[in-house]
């Protein structure tokens, strides 16, 4: 359907995006960057949803629905997360995740 581009290419892109997201989430200390990493992960999933929908069930729309949901939820999530981050910044004067370790043993 999408002329000349095989399924594998899409999957490779999304996998790379996913792992970049995971690595970013684990490695980066800045909360905003981590939030962006989460967006990457979510979007890699979106790609998969859309692509599989297109290749496996071209006459159905569930994959699209899901990706739209994810986009919506990601927006909500981003707003909550940024609100949290702002509060953390007010409390700690920075947004380094290593300093947010109050919730432990």
């Amino acid at each position: 359907m999408i002329q000349g581009i095989p399924l594998e290419h899409f999957l490779i892109v999304s996998t790379i995006m996913f792992f970049i997201g995971v690595c970013g989430f684990i490695i980066r200390r800045n909360l905003i960057t981590m939030l962006m990493a989460i967006e990457l992960i979510l979007n890699s999933v979106n790609i998969n949803f859309v692509v599989f929908n297109r290749y496996l069930y071209p006459d159905q729309l569930q994959g699209h629905f899901f990706s739209l949901f994810i986009v919506g939820i990601a927006a909500a999530e981003a707003s909550v997360a940024i609100a949290l981050i702002i509060n953390i910044y007010r409390k700690l004067q920075n947004i380094d995740v290593e300093n947010v370790n109050e919730l432990r043993f």
């Binding site: 995971v22 989430f25 684990i26 200390r29 290593e98 370790n101 043993f105």
Partner: protein, 638 residues
């Protein structure tokens, strides 16, 4: 049969007196409790005498005395056949014991009115005396061996309470504790004996157990444990119970210490009544012991013989007059046990049994007299020790005469009662066991010697410096002395061989001059020796003591039995059993339980670092875990 229904009152009156004086006594003037107790006891005494009169002399007994059970009720039921009854059983020995107990107890009640006057806890004293009398009466009229055990325990407790009457005195507390624990140990033997016996025969009832030629032992012969037949075990263990109460060697150690109690108590419990409970028990079980467990009977004979010799030797060296009397009691109890040990069953054969009961009777009278006399002496001079006494015959004429009578009686001088009963025992011993006869013959001499040693050094010899002139005791104290003195003189003429015998049939005896004459002679020899050594103050006894050296010291210290027991209990049981157990429990068992908790806590402490609070650690773990799961899934599915 129904004519004896009133006998239930004999033990019930003291019980009521105990409850009344025990609960209300402190509200009244002390003397009220005393009088109440004494009157109650007097009533019991009269009832016992009536019982004895109508039982022994009211009717013909050509075919022997009947066993009468005027009252019986089930108290506790174990199984269909095993149940504890509480009842009254009248047969020659129990009727005789009723008379002995109520007589002595009444005398002691009367005597204590004077002796205990002004003591703190007068009412308590009378309450305990009533309790003791009740228990003792319940013991002798028991219809079954478990009822006997019940009252046996009650007797032990009331003895504990009376020995520890002066409870602020540490020595009295220790003595009461010792008496209770030693007898309790023996009671364990008794209990196990009962258990074995009931297992073998399926009954507690004396009537079924002691019936001659009974079939209940049919299955018993085959039972044995460690190569010894079950019945021998049972009888030996029951004898251990008896030996505990009767203070037989080696369970004798509590009796001398028990003299810490007030003197009337010593007279009642530790001379005349409670200590003969063991003898009574053996007499009660005699048919079983004799026919089913002859080995146990042998043991009884030898233990009795040894105890009488052992105690007589110790008595020679003691200075506390109550202890001399205590050891003399031991010695005489040994006589009684020995007589049972050498006795046969039925007619002439049962001479030992009859003699034992006879001696029990006469001994109760003269030993109570000796103790009450000693109480009178102690009352006058306020000391227990012979070296604080001397020349008292001038001050205490009544005590002196009655004490002399008692000493002559115990020494076996004819025609006083002790002569007759002791003579029968010696005859019985001669017929069955020459060794035991020789021992008893020797003991007869020793007895005369140590009793007169006591007598001479207390009533003769030099005057001591008394704080105030000793004076004769009040009438309430001297009347019992006189009564018992008369009883000691004449009790020997009672026709015991027609009344109390092993098979409840009378038989005839005659004087055995061949035994009687030498035994009187050795008694007189003992008296003479005491006369020479102690009539006047002299240095001879002192020198003799030094000559014998170690032997004397050992005897004076009662062959160190107290120390051995103390070592075993305090050092071994307390230190090497109880203490390690307490330690083991706290440190090993509890330590293990606590340890489980500690280990859990330790592990939790170790792994709690994983909960670091670092978001990225969690994320890494999560991803790593997911990957690991995914990979393993791939690996295992492929």
């Amino acid at each position: 049969m129904t004519g004896y229904a009133y006998t239930i009152l004999i033990p019930m009156i003291p019980l009521v007196m105990f409850l009344v004086t025990g609960l209300l006594g402190m509200k009244w003037k002390p003397i009220v409790s005393g009088l109440l107790g004494t009157i109650g006891m007097g009533t019991s005494w009269v009832l016992s005498l009536i019982t004895a009169g109508s039982y022994f002399f009211g009717g013909h007994h050509a075919e022997g005395f009947q066993t009468i059970i005027p009252f019986e009720t089930t108290w506790l039921r174990f199984t269909e056949t095993l149940h504890i009854n509480i009842g009254v059983l009248l047969d020659p020995i129990s009727v005789m014991m009723l008379v002995v107990i109520t007589t002595i107890s009444f005398m002691v009640h009367l005597y204590s009115l004077g002796y205990m006057k002004g003591e703190k806890g007068f009412a308590r004293f009378y309450a305990f005396l009533s309790l003791f009398t009740f228990s003792m009466l319940g013991l002798v009229i028991a219809t079954n061996i478990f009822q006997m055990y019940i009252f046996w325990e009650l007797v032990g407790v009331s003895s504990f309470l009376l020995i520890g009457f002066y409870y602020t005195k540490p020595s009295a507390v220790a003595a009461s504790k010792k008496a209770f624990i030693v007898t309790r140990f023996a009671d364990l033997g008794f209990l196990i004996g009962i258990l074995i016996l009931s297992f073998v025969t399926g009954t507690f009832d004396f009537g079924k157990l002691t019936e001659p030629g009974t079939a209940i032992f049919g299955s018993a012969a085959s039972m044995s444990f460690m190569g010894i037949s079950a019945l021998t075990w049972a009888m030996t263990l029951i004898f251990i119970g008896g030996a505990g109460k009767s203070a037989m060697f080696p369970l004798h150690i509590w009796l001398p210490d028990a003299m810490e109690g007030p003197t009337p108590v010593s007279a009642l419990i530790h001379a005349a009544t409670m200590v003969v409970a063991g003898v009574f028990l053996v007499a009660r079980m005699f048919p079983v012991i004799h026919f089913q467990a002859p080995d146990a009977q042998e043991i009884i004979g030898y233990v009795g013989g040894f105890t009488s010799l052992f105690a007589a030797v110790i008595a020679i060296t003691q200075y506390d007059i109550k202890r001399v009397l205590a050891f003399s009691t031991l010695s005489q109890l040994g006589y009684m046990m020995l007589a049972l040990g050498v006795s046969g069953y039925g007619g002439e054969e049962g001479l030992g049994y009859m003699a034992s009961m006879f001696h029990l009777f006469t001994h109760a009278m003269f030993k109570a007299l000796l103790f009450l006399g000693a109480g009178s002496i102690i009352h006058a001079v306020h000391s227990n020790y012979m070296y604080d006494m001397g020349g008292l015959r001038k001050y205490l004429p009544i005590t002196h005469i009655t004490f002399l009578i008692a000493c002559l009686t115990i020494a076996g001088v004819p025609p006083l009662s002790g002569f007759f009963s002791k003579d029968e025992i010696l005859v019985a011993a001669l017929h069955h066991n020459k060794l035991l006869f020789a021992v008893e013959f020797l003991v007869a001499g020793l007895t005369a010697f140590y009793m007169f040693r006591l007598y001479f050094s207390v009533f003769w010899g030099k005057d001591r410096h008394y704080h105030h002139t000793p004076h004769e005791s009040p009438l309430t104290m001297s009347i019992p002395l006189m009564f018992l003195a008369v009883a000691s003189v004449f009790a020997g003429f009672l026709p015991f061989h027609h009344l109390v015998t092993s098979d409840k049939m009378g038989f005839d005896t005659e004087m055995h001059m061949a035994v009687a004459a030498p035994s009187v002679l050795i008694g007189l020899f003992g008296i003479a020796m005491a006369w020479i050594l102690y009539k006047k103050e002299s240095a001879v006894p002192e020198k003799l003591a030094q000559r014998w050296g170690i032997l004397y010291t050992a005897t004076y210290n009662k062959f160190y039995f107290d120390e051995i027991y103390l070592f075993v209990t305090k050092k071994i049981i307390f230190n090497y059993i109880s203490r390690p157990i307490a330690w083991f429990d706290r440190h090993i068992i509890d330590g293990f339980m606590v340890g489980i908790g500690l280990v859990t806590e330790k592990i939790a402490y170790q792994i709690k670092g994983m909960q670091s609070g670092q978001l990225q650690h969690y994320a890494f773990m999560f991803v790593a875990g997911t990957l690991a799961l995914a990979l393993s899934l791939v690996y295992f599915l492929m």
